[in-house]
Symmetry: C2
Subunit: 518 residues, 2 copies
C-alpha cells in the first residue's frame, strides 16, 4: 500500500510479485502447520492465483476467506485507483469479485458462513470485512441489485466511492433480494481439485464437501456434509475447537482438541474406515489429493443432486457419495437422500455418524444405555466420544426421530442385522471443557468390503411450547430399499406411509450422460 | 355454564358450592399424586379460595395457573353477566383479577413463565388462555393501559365485550408498557404460607421460591432460585421432565424422570442435605409445611433483597437464605448476592449446585476429569448426575466463569479447603434420552453442622462471533468474605478488582427492623 501512496515501483513490484531472487524453503511450515511456500511463488498476484478457484472458492473455506478478503480487496481497490492499467478486478477472469459472490453463497439463511474446515460458527456476512467485500463487489462489479439488499441488512457502508455507490443504490430503491441458489463451486487454482456443492430447495440447504485439503485449516472430512433448515443446523459440522480471542481459553488460539477432535474424520458426517482418519490424518498426504465430481445437477429443482468420488483417503477403498434434495408432493418438505457407495479391496470396519442436534424423540430399534460412560476409542477423535447407547440394528431400516428448536426430524437408514448402532456424545478426554456436549447416532458396519449406506433425512412438523401442539411428529417414510446396485447404477426405492413409491436412480460412472428419475 | 344458560339455580349452586351432601375421602389422591379433596370443600368458590393467595399467586405455579385461568375466567365472566349480584370479580378482594397480574409478573422478559414446580419451559403469555386473561382483566378490572401493550403483542383478542374493549383501547392508542417490577407474592389461601419473590433490576431477574409445596405439581425445592438476564437463563430451574402432547415420549405424559429427577431437591439451586430431598421427597409431609418470609425489600432499587427461612425440610436443620440483586457503580451490571445460612443440630453433608448453562471459560481452581463418567449416587436424583470433574476447593474463594449466548458470567463462592467441587452433567440412568445434558458446578461441604454458603453471580461483558471481540470477560470480584456471622446478623464484604470494598449486612432475626447497607 505504501508503494502505491509513494508511487514507488520497486515496492509495488515487491508487493505484486514477491521479493526478487528470494528463495524460500518449500518444505517450511507456518504456525498452523501449513506449507509456507510450497510452490515457490510469492506476491499478491500469486496469492490470487493459488487459493482461489476460477469459481471464486477459497481453498481454506468461507471462514478464512472472510478473513482474507479485507486485505485482498483493499489492496486491489488501491491498485485499481493508482494502477488502472493492471485491471486487477479483471485478473484471472475477475476472480476477486467472483469470490465475493461465492462467499455470500457459502452462508446459511441467516448469513452465517458454513463452518467448513477450521470455521468458527456464527461468523457471518455482518462482519466488517464483508461490508468491504459487498461494497467493492457492487461498485467495481456489475452493480448487482441483490448486493444492495445485503448491504441494507449490514446497515454500514465503506467511506469511499464504493460505499457511496451502495448508499445511493439503496437510496434510489434499487435493491432486490439476494437469491441464494444451488451452486457448485470448484476448488483448486484451475478448478480441477474437487469442490463444494450447495443444494437449496425451499428452506433446506445441503452443503456437500468434496474439495481439496484446504491448506493447514483443512479437516479430514472427504465427502462430508451438513444440513440446514432456515439457518438452523439439522446435521451439524462441528467447526473448529477454538474460542477465537477469548484469552482464558488457551489464549484464544487453537485448542489441542482442534487437532485431536475437530479435524478428525470421525467428527464429520462421513465414513471413517477402521477407526483411522482420511489420509491417516497426515496433512502432507491429504494436501496431494482431492475428491472428484461425479456430477452436479440442479436444473430440475425438484431433483437436485451432487455426486462425488474419493479414492485416496483410504488407499484401496473408493467412496462414491451421491446426495440429493428431493421435493415430492407426498412429503411435507423437501428431504435429503444420501447414497454412499463404498468399494474396497479388503474387509474393513466402516463408521458412519450422524451429528444431529436436539432431543431423541423415538427410535424403531431397542437400545441399551450403559451405567457408566466410556470413550469409544483411544485416538483419531474416538477418544473424545462417550458411548451413551448401543443397539443391534433391525433388518431393513433403522429410524431415529428427534426434536430441535420446535421442529421434528427423522433419519431413516438402510441397515442389516449385523450393523451396530451407537449413540455417542462429544466430551470424553476433554480436561478443559473445550468441547460441546453434542450427540450423534453412529452406524457401524464391521468386516465388510463393498457396501452401500443409504439414508433419508426428513424435516417434518413442529412443536410449540406455547400451544403445546405437536404437528406431524412422525416420519413419512414407510420403507427405504436398495433395489439395484451395480458398478454403473444404484437405484433406491422410497415408500411413504401412504404406500406411494418413488424410485431414484443414479449413475455411478460415465456421468456425462447421468440420469436420475424420481 | 349450562346452569347459567338454562337459568337453573340448582346447577348453578352445584357449580358454585359442589354437590350437596357429598362427602369425598379427604385422603384420596388424583392421577398426579395430589390430594383430591383434602379439606372437604368443593365447587367454584372453594376453588378460588384454596389455590389462590390474596396476592393472586396460584399454589401450583405459573405453568398450571395458565392452564387453570381459562375455565376460571370464562365461568367468572358468565357469572358476571348472568348473576352480577354475586360480584364474582370482587370475590376474595378481587383475587381473580389480581391473579392475572401475578401471572404476568411471573414471566421473564420474553413473556415466558418461570418454570416453577412442574412447568414446561417456553409456555408464555402468548398462550390463548392468557389472551382470555388479559382481555378480561382489562375489561372487568381497571383498564390498566399496561395490559394493552401485552394484548398488542399477543395480536389476538376475545370475540366478546372484553376483547372489544381491548381492541378499542389499542385503536385509541391508550397502551403503555407493562412494567414488570420487583414483587413479592404470598402463597396459601390466606397468604401465610411463604411465597415467591422476584427481584428485578435492569435486565436481571431473580426468582426466589419460598412457597408451600405446590400441590401434586410441587417440587422439593425449598429456597431455590433461578436467575435470568433479558429472558435468557443464567442459572436454570430444570422445569418438568415431560414433552407435553408429544405422544412418542411416554404418550406426552409425565415421564418417570419427572419424579426421579425433576422434582428432587438436587435438581434445584438449593441445599440438599445428606443426599436426601426435602421432606424425604414425601408429598404428604411437604404439603404440611411452607417456608417463611424473613423480609422483602425492594424500595431501594439498588439494594433489593428477599430473605426467607425453611425449618421443616430437614428436621433439626434451619436454612435461612438471603438473596439480593445489587446495583453498584463499580460493576458493569447488577449482580446477585446469595447468603445461605444453615444451622443444624448435627453434622451433615451439604450439596449446593449451580445449574449454569453454557461453556466453561475459566476456573480459579484445578480440577480433575475422569476417563469414565459415573453417576454421583443411586437415588434422590443423584443417579441422574454424571460426575465430569472433581476438585478440592481453594481457601477463600472458588470461581467459575462461563460463556452463554454471547455473555460472560462468573460465580464466586466463599469456600474452604475442606470443600469439594464437582462438575456434574444431567443424563445418567436415562434410558429413553428424556433428560437434557446440562451442567452444574456443585459445592459439597461434608461433616458440617452450622455453615454459611455465600456466592456472587455476575453477568459481564460480551462475545460476538461476528466481530470476534471478547469484552470484559473477567469477573470484577477480587474477594468475597464473611466478616460477621452471628444469630442476629451476617455481614459480607465484597472487594472488586480495583480494590473498592462494599459491605452488605443482613438481619437474620427480628427483621421488622431489618437493615442492609451497601
Amino acid at each position: 500500500m505504501i508503494g502505491l501512496v509513494m508511487d514507488d515501483q520497486e515496492l509495488i513490484d515487491r508487493a505484486l510479485y514477491g521479493i526478487k531472487g528470494l528463495k524460500l524453503d518449500t518444505n517450511k511450515k507456518d504456525d498452523d502447520g501449513g506449507f509456507l511456500n510450497k510452490d515457490g511463488k510469492a506476491g499478491f498476484l500469486a496469492n490470487i492465483e493459488e487459493p482461489f478457484s476460477p469459481d471464486g472458492y477459497y481453498n481454506e473455506g468461507p471462514y478464512y476467506q472472510r478473513y482474507a478478503m479485507y486485505p485482498f480487496l483493499i489492496f486491489a481497490e488501491g491498485l485499481h485507483n493508482v494502477k488502472p492499467e493492471l485491471k486487477i478486478f479483471e485478473y484471472k477472469e475477475g476472480v476477486l469479485l467472483k469470490s465475493i459472490n461465492a462467499l455470500l453463497n457459502l452462508s446459511d439463511a441467516d448469513g452465517d458462513f458454513f463452518p467448513l474446515n477450521d470455521g468458527q460458527k456464527g461468523m457471518s456476512y455482518y462482519n466488517d470485512a464483508l461490508v468491504t467485500a459487498v461494497d467493492i463487489s457492487y461498485h467495481f462489479g456489475t452493480q448487482d441489485p441483490g448486493l444492495l439488499s445485503i448491504a441494507k441488512e449490514q446497515n454500514k457502508v465503506l467511506l469511499d466511492d464504493s460505499g457511496l455507490a451502495v448508499a445511493l443504490g439503496i437510496k434510489n430503491g434499487n435493491e432486490e433480494p439476494f437469491n441464494k441458489k444451488s451452486i457448485n463451486l470448484s476448488d483448486g487454482p484451475k478448478g480441477t481439485q474437487g469442490g463444494v456443492a450447495i443444494l437449496r430447495q425451499d428452506d433446506i440447504e445441503l452443503v456437500f464437501k468434496y474439495a481439496a485439503q484446504g491448506s493447514s485449516h483443512g479437516h479430514y472430512d472427504k465427502l462430508s456434509y451438513s444440513l440446514y433448515e432456515k439457518g438452523e443446523e439439522i446435521l451439524q459440522d462441528y467447526g473448529l475447537a477454538r474460542f477465537v480471542n477469548i484469552e482464558q481459553k488457551g489464549g484464544g488460539n487453537y485448542l489441542k482438541e482442534n487437532k485431536t477432535w475437530a479435524k478428525q474424520t470421525i467428527a464429520h458426517n462421513t465414513v471413517t474406515q477402521n477407526e483411522t482418519s482420511h489420509f491417516n490424518g497426515k496433512y502432507e498426504v491429504g494436501s496431494q489429493h482431492h475428491s472428484v465430481l461425479n456430477y452436479f445437477s440442479s436444473e430440475n429443482e425438484k431433483v437436485q443432486v451432487a455426486s462425488a468420488k474419493e479414492v485416496n483417503a483410504y488407499p484401496g477403498t473408493e467412496m462414491l457419495r451421491t446426495m440429493a434434495i428431493l421435493k415430492d408432493e407426498d412429503f411435507e418438505k423437501p428431504y435429503m437422500l444420501d447414497i454412499m457407495k463404498v468399494t474396497s479391496d479388503k474387509a474393513n470396519q466402516y463408521d458412519f455418524p450422524y451429528y444431529f442436534l436436539g432431543q431423541v424423540v423415538e427410535t424403531n430399534f431397542e437400545y441399551q444405555t450403559p451405567k457408566s460412560l466410556n470413550p469409544l476409542g483411544t485416538k483419531n477423535g474416538y477418544q473424545h466420544l462417550f458411548v451413551e447407547g448401543t443397539a443391534k440394528a433391525p433388518s431393513d431400516n433403522s429410524q431415529l426421530s428427534w426434536l430441535n428448536k420446535g421442529k421434528f426430524y427423522s433419519l431413516t437408514s438402510v441397515t442389516n442385522t449385523n450393523d451396530e448402532l451407537l449413540f455417542t456424545r462429544i466430551g470424553a478426554n476433554d480436561p478443559g471443557f473445550n468441547l460441546r456436549r453434542e450427540a450423534a447416532l453412529m452406524l457401524r458396519r464391521k468386516n465388510t468390503k463393498n457396501t452401500l449406506f443409504v439414508s433419508v433425512i426428513e424435516s417434518h412438523g413442529s412443536y410449540s411450547p406455547v400451544s403445546e401442539s405437536a404437528v406431524n411428529s412422525n416420519s413419512n417414510i414407510a420403507a427405504l430399499k436398495v433395489v439395484l446396485d451395480t458398478d454403473a447404477y444404484t437405484a433406491i426405492q422410497i415408500t411413504n406411509i401412504n404406500g406411494n413409491v418413488k424410485l431414484f436412480i443414479t449413475a455411478n460412472t460415465e456421468t456425462s450422460k447421468e440420469k436420475n428419475i424420481l
